[in-house]
Point group: C2
Chain length 683, copies 2
C-alpha cells in the first residue's frame, strides 16, 4: 500500500495475500488529522478455518525444526531488517495521529521488543525445544524414581487481537514470545490503524526471514476465528473490557479450553507520597510524569495515569504545576506540523468516545481544573483533536473517578488522608495495569507498594534517584510483565521468558533417571554414563551428556588445611582453632575450607593439556553437605549435564554435574561447573 | 457427628458452627455399601456474603501477621494433630465405600500434602511475606533504575469446591498452598461424602492451631457464593466438566475477574511401548498399573486410566493379563468385610451414572472383554456395587472411547500402528491430567513423551527401573503439578511452591536500588550500606541487610598462581602454560584460577575469630567475568543480602552479595555466599 492511493488493506492467510472480492461492507479509515480517506478494510469471506489449520500444520512443522536459540536469532535478524524500513512506517504512523515521539514508542519500541526477546531467548533458554522448569523432585528413597517439570510448546496457533493505539508494538510484543516458543501467530490488528500493521507484516514477509506459516494477518473483523479454536490454541487480546468479555464468554473458551489472556484498559493511579511536597524533586518528577502520561499518544495508552491520588490539601498545587507544564510543553496539532507535541486522537469516533466519557466524569462529580471539552482552537474540524483535561473530585470515593475511563488526555485528582486511605483509593480501581508511587522515603515506598501490589501488574517507585533514568510509568518494558488483575484483564504478557512460557504447556514428567535424561536432554544423576576418554579432551561435537570422569581419592591432612588458611588468608576459626571449631554445632573440630574442597576437586577432574575446553565461567548451586576433617579422602565425579552450542560462535556452554564424596561415600559437596567448550578440536 | 446417629452436617462460617433451621430441602446421604442413612445435608439460609467478608477481613488480618515460614510451621503442627485422629476418619471413610487402602490415599495422602507443603514452604520461600521472582532486570545503564518481580498474596478468599471422591485429600491439597500464601479458605465439599470433610474441619478447628477466619466450611450447595466474589478472590474447582463450565461462565468470572481454576475428569491414557512386549517387566508393570487404576477407589479417580493404547495385535494379550490379575487380586464387597479389595461406588446415583456411561461406550463400538454390566453376585442390593469392566474398540478412532468417561472401574483398549499413531490417539482425549508411557527404550520415551506432553499435565514413564518405586499413574504428588489442558480443566494445582504462587499476584516493581531493597527486603547493589563493625561480628538479631565489609586489594603474583596450581593439582593450561593460555580466545596469557580468586576473597572478607557466623553452606550464581593476571590486585565487597531466621532453630541463613573487582574497578567475579548465623552472640 502507498500513502497516496487509498486501497483495501489485504490480509495474509494460508500462505498468500488475500483481499475481499468487492468492497461491500468495507470500513473506511481516515487520516486522524485531516479526515482524508487513507484506506478501506474488510475481511469478508476470508477463510479463517483454513488459516487456523495452516498455522497448526505448516506453521507448527516449520517452527518445529528450529530450537529456541535459532528462533531467537531470527528475531534479531528481523529487528535489524525492520530498522531499515522505519521511514515508511513513520510516515504511515503520522496518519494515525502519532507524533514522532509517539511513533518512536510504537515502532522503535516494537523493534526493541524483538531485540530483547532475541537476547533473552538465547541467554536464558536452552538451545533445544524443551524448557526445564525447576529442580528434580526426588520421589523415591533409592533415587530410581523422580519428577521434573518441563515446558513444551502448545500444539496450536496464537491468535493475537490487538488494539488501535499501538499497531506495531502491539503486534510485535505478542508475536516475539510466541515465535520463540515455536507457536505460529495469526495477527488481527484493530481496523482504524491496521494499515500500519499490514505494512509491517508485508516487510516481515518480504524479508524472507520467517519460516512458512509462522505469521498470518487478518485485516478487518476477526469474524468466526474463535469458532475454529480449541484447547491447543491461545487468544491474546488487548482492547476494551467489553470485547474481552465477549471473547471470554465464547463457548470455545468456556467449554473448549482455548487459552485466553486479556489486557484491558484500566484506571491507573499515581500516588504522590506525603514526603513529596511541592519543591521536592519527587513532586516535580510526579508532575512531569502526569503530563507525559496525559499527552503521549494523546493519552491513548492502556497504561496512562487516570487517577492522581495526592495528599489532602495538595489538589491546587498539583493542578497548578500540571497546568503550567502543559502550557510550556504541549502544542496540539497535526503531528506532521513543526513543533506539535500532541496529535489528534486516532479517529473522530474516538473523539466522541472521549468527550462522552469526560462528560460522564463531570456529571459524576468532576470539576474541570485544566483544559475544557471544547475543540482546541485552529484545528481542522475533520480531525480528531481534543485538549488535555484535568478534573478534580472533592469526594475521593465518587464512583465515577474509579470506574469511568476517558481514553484520551484526561485525568482526575483525588485526595487521601493517610497511607491506608491512599492504598484503599488505589484499590478502588478494581485492578490496574500499573501505578506510580512518588516518594523518597523507603518506609512509605514499602507500605504503599506492598499495600497496592496485589491490585497491580506493575508498580513504579519514582524518586530523585530514578526520575531521569526511569523508562516511565506508561511504558511496559519487555523484561517485565505487562498486565494486571481485575479490570486490567487478569492476565500477563511480556516479562521476558515468562511470556514465552505462556505459549507452552507445563508438564510434570515422572520416571527413572535414564528416562528423565532422555526426555529433558539434561543428564540426571543415576542415568547412564560414558567414561572412555577424558571429557575435557572432547569438542562440543564429540561430547555427549553423561560423559564422565571420576578422580581421587586425595587425602586431606592437617597441614593442607593450615597451608590453605595461610596462603588464602582465610583463617576462619573453623579451620584454625580446634577448640572453637569443636564448640561449633556443625563441625567435629577443625574442618577443611569449602574453597579448598572445590579447588582440589578441580585439581582432580581437570585434564590440564590444551584442548577444546576454553574456560571455567562459573559455578552454580554449590552446597557443602558433610564437613571434611584431616584424614578424610575426597573423590570427585564430573559428568556432562547440559550442552548448549551457541548459534553465532564456534563454542558453546557445557554445564557439568560435580559431586564430591568422602571415603565413607558420604556426600561432601554438590554443584554445577560452567565451562565454555570449542565446537571443534583446536587445529 | 457420630457414626450412629444420622444428623444434619453443619457448616462453619463467620466464626461459628451453623445448621439450617429445619431439614426442609436437606439431602440424604447413604452408606455406599448398605444404603443406610448416614447424614442429611443442607446449606439453605447460610450467609455466604458474610463468610466471604469474614475471610477478607478477619482471615486476611490474622494471616497477615504471619510469615511464610510461620504459616508453614502451623501446617506441620496440623498434620501431626490429624495423624492422631485418623481412626475416626477411617471409620467414616469406610461408609463412603472406601477400602482401607482407598482411605489411606485420601486421609494419609492428605496429611502428607500438609507435611510436604510445610517443608517446601520453609525450605523454598523466604521467611517474610514477599516472594521474589527471578533476578533483577537492569533498565538503565547507570544502575539507578531497575525492575524486580515480586509475589504478594491476593487480597481475598480462596473458595475451594471439591469432588466427592477425595473428601480429605481434596480439601487439604487446596487448603495447604492457600494457607502458606496467606489467603483464607472457604471449603465446599461434595455433598455425598462431605460428612468426612466436616469431621476433618471439626478436628482442625478443635486443634486451635489455625488463626481466626482462615478456614470456613460450607456443607451442601455452594448457592450464591460466586455472586459475592470479585478479582481479589479465587475459585478452585474439582469435579465434572459441566459444573466447571457453569462456574466459568458466571458473570463474576467472565467480567468480574474472579481467578478460576478447574480440575475435571479426563480420559487418561496408558501407552504400552512397542518394546514392552508380553514377558517384559514393562508389560507386567503396565498390566499391574491398569488393574490398580481400574480398581483403586473403585475407579473413581480423575486420574484413572481410561484408555489403554497398545501396539497392534496386543489387545487379547493385554486383556488376558488384566483379566487374570483382576481374578487374582480383586474382591468386590463392603470394605469393612475381610479380604475386600474393591468397595462399592460412592452412591447409587454414581452407579447409575457409571452403568449408563458404560452402555454408551458399548453402543459406541465397545466390546466387553472382561467383566459385565451386571451387579456383582451376592452384594447388598442397596449398595452401589459394580464389577470391573474392560472394553475393546476395533476402531481406534471411535468417538466414544475418546469422549465418554465412565467414572468407575471401567477402561477400554485401542490399538496403534507406529509411535505417531499412538501420539495422535492419546491427543484425541482432548487434554488429560496424566498419561503413562510404558517403555524401557529411551528413544521411544523421548518421542512419545514429547509428542504428548503438551496435551497433559503429567506423564509417567514406567519401566523396570521404577516399577517398584513409582508413586503410580493415578497419584498426584504434592511436589508436581496436578491438572491438565482442555478436557482436564486447563489449570494447575500442587507442584510445590507453584501452588502457593497461584494464590498470589505477580507484580513488576520498578525503582532505584534503595526502593527495590525497601520493597523486597533483599539488598540490591546500589542501595544504602552500613559499614560499622564487621558483619561477621553481628548476630542475626543485630545484622541488617546492607551491612557491608570491603577488603583488599591483594596483588596476585605469578608465584601465587604457580603455587596454587601445585597445591590444588589444578594445572589447567590457562594457569600454567603461557603459550597455550595466549592462544585461548578469552585470556591474555596465564591467569589466576577462579578458585584462587574466591578462596582469596574469603581470606579477605572473613573475620576469623569465633562469633555468630557458624558455617559457609554454599555459593550460588558464581560468574567469573574479567580474568586476573599476575600483577592485578583484587578487592572484595561483601554485603548482607537476605536474612532468613529459622523458626525452629537458634540460627538462620544469611545470603551475602560478594563482588570482586580489580585495580581498574573492573568486575572480576560476582556470587552469593550462603552462611548460617546464630540468632544471638555466643555465650
Amino acid at each position: 500500500m502507498t500513502l497516496l492511493e487509498p486501497q483495501i488493506v489485504p490480509s495474509f492467510v494460508n500462505g498468500g495475500w488475500w483481499s475481499p472480492a468487492g468492497e461491500t461492507g468495507a470500513q473506511a479509515v481516515m487520516d486522524a488529522s485531516t479526515g482524508a480517506l487513507v484506506a478501506t478494510v474488510s475481511s469478508e469471506g476470508v477463510d479463517l478455518a483454513g488459516a487456523v489449520e495452516y498455522a497448526r500444520t505448516v506453521g507448527q512443522a516449520s517452527l518445529g525444526q528450529l530450537t529456541f536459540h535459532q528462533r531467537a536469532l531470527l528475531l534479531k535478524q528481523l529487528a535489524q531488517y525492520l530498522n531499515g524500513v522505519k521511514d515508511e512506517l513513520y510516515a504511515l504512523s503520522a496518519q494515525t495521529g502519532a507524533t514522532r515521539f509517539d511513533s518512536m514508542i510504537d515502532i522503535d519500541g516494537g523493534i526493541g521488543v524483538l531485540f530483547t526477546f532475541s537476547s533473552k531467548g538465547r541467554r536464558e533458554m536452552p538451545n533445544s525445544q524443551v524448557y526445564v522448569d525447576g529442580g528434580v523432585e526426588a520421589l523415591s528413597k533409592d533415587g530410581s524414581f523422580s519428577g521434573q517439570h518441563i515446558y513444551t510448546r502448545i500444539p496450536g496457533v496464537a491468535c493475537q487481537v490487538n488494539a488501535f493505539n499501538f499497531p506495531v508494538w502491539g503486534m510485535l510484543e505478542k508475536f516475539a514470545p510466541a515465535f520463540i516458543a515455536g507457536v505460529p501467530s495469526i495477527v488481527k490488528p484493530a481496523t482504524p490503524t491496521g494499515y500500519l500493521t499490514e505494512a509491517v507484516v508485508r516487510h516481515i514477509l518480504d524479508s524472507g526471514i520467517l519460516p512458512a506459516g509462522t505469521l498470518q494477518l487478518v485485516s478487518g473483523s476477526a469474524r468466526d476465528l474463535l469458532d475454529h479454536l480449541d484447547y491447543r490454541d491461545l487468544v491474546a487480546f488487548t482492547g476494551s473490557a467489553s470485547t474481552a468479555m465477549a471473547l471470554k464468554a465464547h463457548p470455545n473458551v468456556v467449554a473448549g479450553g482455548v487459552r485466553f489472556t486479556s489486557e484491558t484498559d484500566s484506571l491507573n493511579a499515581a500516588i504522590l507520597g506525603p514526603d513529596a511536597e511541592p519543591g521536592t524533586p519527587e513532586f516535580d518528577a510526579y508532575v512531569a510524569s502526569v503530563v507525559t502520561e496525559m499527552t503521549a499518544k494523546t493519552g491513548q495508552k492502556c497504561t496512562s495515569i487516570r487517577r492522581l491520588i495526592v495528599p489532602a490539601g495538595l489538589t491546587a498545587a498539583v493542578a497548578d504545576a500540571v497546568s503550567d507544564r502543559i502550557g510550556r510543553k504541549v502544542t496540539v496539532g497535526d503531528p506532521r506540523a513543526e513543533g506539535v507535541t500532541m496529535g489528534p486522537l486516532a479517529s473522530v469516533d474516538q473523539r466522541s468516545e472521549v468527550l462522552g466519557s469526560s462528560r460522564r466524569l463531570i456529571d459524576g462529580g468532576g470539576r474541570v481544573l485544566v483544559g475544557s471539552l471544547d475543540a482546541p482552537e485552529g484545528m481542522n474540524p475533520d480531525g480528531a483533536f481534543v485538549s488535555p483535561l484535568l478534573l478534580a473530585f472533592d469526594d475521593a470515593r465518587s464512583a465515577a473517578v474509579h470506574e469511568i475511563e476517558a481514553f484520551g488526555p484526561v485525568a482526575s485528582i483525588i485526595e487521601y488522608d493517610g497511607l491506608d486511605d491512599a492504598i484503599e483509593l488505589a484499590a478502588r480501581g478494581g485492578g490496574s495495569l500499573v501505578a506510580t508511587v512518588a516518594t523518597h522515603d523507603p518506609e512509605v515506598a514499602r507500605t504503599l507498594v506492598l499495600g497496592i501490589a496485589a491490585h497491580h501488574g506493575r508498580v513504579l517507585v519514582l524518586d530523585r534517584d530514578d526520575a531521569r533514568s526511569s523508562t516511565g510509568h506508561g511504558s511496559p518494558v519487555p523484561h517485565l510483565v505487562h498486565g494486571g488483575p481485575g479490570r486490567a484483564g487478569g492476565s500477563e504478557e511480556l516479562g521476558g521468558i515468562r511470556a514465552v512460557l505462556h505459549h507452552m504447556q507445563r508438564t510434570a514428567i515422572q520416571g527413572s533417571p535414564a528416562m528423565l535424561t532422555a526426555v529433558t536432554g539434561d543428564w540426571r544423576a543415576g542415568a547412564p554414563v560414558r567414561s572412555d576418554v577424558h571429557p575435557f579432551r572432547k569438542s562440543l561435537a564429540e561430547l555427549r551428556i553423561g560423559d564422565q570422569v571420576e578422580a581421587g581419592p586425595r587425602v586431606v591432612t592437617a597441614e593442607d588445611i593450615a597451608a590453605f588458611a595461610e596462603s588464602t588468608g582465610d583463617r576462619f576459626y573453623a579451620h584454625t582453632d580446634q577448640e572453637a571449631a569443636e564448640a561449633n554445632p556443625f563441625f567435629p573440630g577443625i574442618v577443611a575450607h569449602g574453597y579448598l574442597l572445590v579447588s582440589w576437586a578441580a585439581g582432580l577432574f581437570v585434564d590440564p593439556a590444551p584442548g577444546p575446553v576454553l574456560a571455567n565461567t562459573g559455578l552454580e548451586n554449590l552446597r557443602f553437605v558433610t564437613p571434611v576433617s584431616a584424614g578424610d579422602g575426597i573423590r570427585v565425579t564430573l559428568t556432562a549435564k547440559r550442552i548448549t552450542p551457541r548459534e553465532t560462535e564456534d563454542y558453546g556452554e557445557v554445564r557439568w554435574d560435580a559431586v564430591l564424596h568422602n571415603q565413607n561415600d558420604e556426600l561432601v559437596a554438590a554443584y554445577d561447573v560452567l565451562t565454555l567448550v570449542a565446537k571443534r578440536q583446536p587445529a
